[in-house]
Symmetry: C2
Subunit: 375 residues, 2 copies
């Protein structure tokens, strides 16, 4: 037997995708020298961002990279040219370099992972030494020598909030953003809709087909493992694209964050009461979540199923199959909170009813395992 | 940005492949009540086997499952019928049930992970309660009530030795196998050959194309990241199928284990001096490893690139590109040893020369990260 394995032959590109998921297991206690004492898993978190392949995936996501670039270039005259910028979690420094190209007078590029060492070399290779200063360390611990006019940051995780990186950006905002300064992005909206997600059904069918087929192949009844596999699958949060046609309601806004005013405390627990009306006679089997972020000058980055795929994909909470009709009403509450054992992971608590029938309660945990299961 | 992500949309089947890789991070010290005190990572190791999807992958590997079944059925009259069997690391219990079908009078099915609880239910569902006894615990810690005629075990990891599960089987052999008893499998051979592995070249090209393309796309020179990515890729052990045509020498036998006589100590460090002669005028870029195991009655399971794919795939050590001619001689030594920090991981030390030119030294570590990167 072999511990970790799949049958498919992966392309090199797929391999790389998989490679990004590795996170060192050597977590040791991190005690910062600044204002924060964070979880030991932060070592793993920052190590994962030290991997160049992860940055390739992010930069290769052209919708992400081009939208940031568009926002910076469209806002160049008004907001960037001659201004001081902080890039929080700069990674390879690509957004900092866009700001330099857009005429920023100074960019502080902040990065806690070792990819920052590469960012330093890239800044040099592109002759931006006089504009960009790469600062290696956690945003909460660094001292900037001056206030900034603009904060640029690509802090969004799966389902917007996974990773809980936004508080680091808000920390820099509160300490260093000048009054009237600009945030890129400046607003973030998390959406949720009803779904009849086809790949859930396909997974279920495939699990049943497989475990039941062993009766025929080997005269063995192993069908109980199908139930077990499906139960486990349905308890897991899935990060995966959902087809546009699998969405079966208008979306509800789970949260709408004004990034000038939102506080880290507001993010620790988000509760939303929803009422979603189904379209058509279908089988509800999921709630589907995605986000949009907005930049100055009307530039928007959307990860909606209606739009081109992004590496964030969609986030799917599976529900017990339920037949609904046109205008069936799905009412309930979703609570998203930081996980007790590690603040970058999320806890999702859901309760809902369909057409005022019995209340259904579902609990999910969004951690690296969940995310690794699909993405 | 998003920590863990790929662009491709995976099929549900691929998702499951990826899902198998998750290993809990909550490792706590394991102190067994028996003869062994093993590493805390064993908690993760056994947790990974608690996942039903991993067992699906193994059982779905028809070459693996059918070869074990063939071996048991072909050996039924002579070795299994009316005999007492131990199945070490039984998983779902499928091999134990094959033995019961083949007429074993008694099967002790030993399993340390929670999948053993499912094995118990499956034994019941298939009415093998009177034949099969599932014992939950580590093989080293369990007391069997009698000696056995046969040991069946599917203990092979990537590159045969990854996971270091064989010593547990040998422990049971030394304590419980009757004199003249049979091992299924009874012999294991690890092979190695020269490779011109095309997907290494493709990965390199793709990394360079991507990082250099940013000059054109964004007027940014990020080419240094290509070197970094390729260096990292080449330092990693890759578990991946290699095409038959990518093999460019006859194989050498790295080790040939007689499972009746081999000792756990023999496995802790294996050193092999090799001399491989290249076929054709090609570019040597890798060493490729695979294994065969042999059962009584001439049944053989081969994971060679010449044969149908298995979930073990092949194991690839990358080498600096080197042009060779027909009959170029690659001479050297490979040492495979258990990793100091965790005995289920492996350390690979290689030194070799091509046509008596300068000696090249390469060190690799084979751990879950390496394996996750490709499989």
């Amino acid at each position: 037997m072999s511990q970790i394995s799949i049958n498919e032959r992966n392309t090199p590109e797929q391999e790389i995708g998989i490679m990004k998921r590795k996170i060192s297991e050597n977590g040791t206690e991190v005690v910062s020298n600044g204002t924060t004492k964070k979880h030991k898993n932060d070592v793993e978190y920052f190590l994962s961002y030290a991997d160049v392949e992860l940055h390739r995936t992010m930069i290769e996501d052209q919708k992400r990279t081009n939208t940031y670039r568009d926002a910076i270039m469209k806002g160049a005259e008004k907001w960037i040219k001659g201004k001081v910028v902080a890039d929080v979690g700069c990674g390879t420094g690509i957004l900092s370099m866009f700001c330099a190209q857009a005429g920023a007078s100074k960019v502080y590029a902040i990065e806690a992972s070792d990819i920052g060492l590469h960012a330093k070399k890239l800044v040099e290779a592109n002759n931006f030494n006089d504009v960009i200063t790469v600062l290696i360390g956690k945003a909460e611990d660094l001292e900037l020598p001056e206030k900034v006019d603009v904060i640029v940051s690509e802090w969004m995780g799966y389902m917007l909030l996974y990773e809980t990186m936004l508080p680091s950006v808000l920390h820099v905002r509160d300490r260093y953003l000048k009054s009237g300064g600009k945030m890129f992005p400046e607003r973030a909206v998390l959406h949720m809709a009803l779904g009849e997600t086809q790949w859930i059904t396909k997974y279920e069918e495939s699990a049943f087909d497989f475990w039941v087929s062993l009766q025929h192949l080997y005269a063995l009844d192993m069908s109980i493992l199908a139930d077990h596999a499906v139960t486990k699958y349905k308890d897991t949060v899935h990060v995966h694209m959902v087809a546009q046609e699998d969405i079966m309601s208008f979306p509800t806004v789970v949260c709408d964050l004004d990034l000038y005013s939102v506080k880290a405390e507001d993010l620790a627990e988000i509760t939303h009461e929803f009422s979603l009306s189904s379209m058509g006679n279908r089988c509800l089997n999921s709630l589907v979540l995605w986000f949009d972020v907005m930049f100055p000058e009307g530039v928007k980055l959307s990860t909606s199923p209606d739009e081109e795929d992004t590496h964030w994909q969609n986030t799917v909470l599976t529900l017990p199959d339920c037949r609904v009709k046109q205008d069936s009403l799905v009412k309930g509450t979703i609570k998203i909170s930081q996980d007790d054992s590690y603040y970058r992971h999320l806890k999702l608590e859901l309760e809902y009813s369909v057409d005022n029938q019995e209340m259904i309660r579902r609990h999910f945990k969004m951690d690296d395992n969940c995310v690794e299961s699909d993405s």
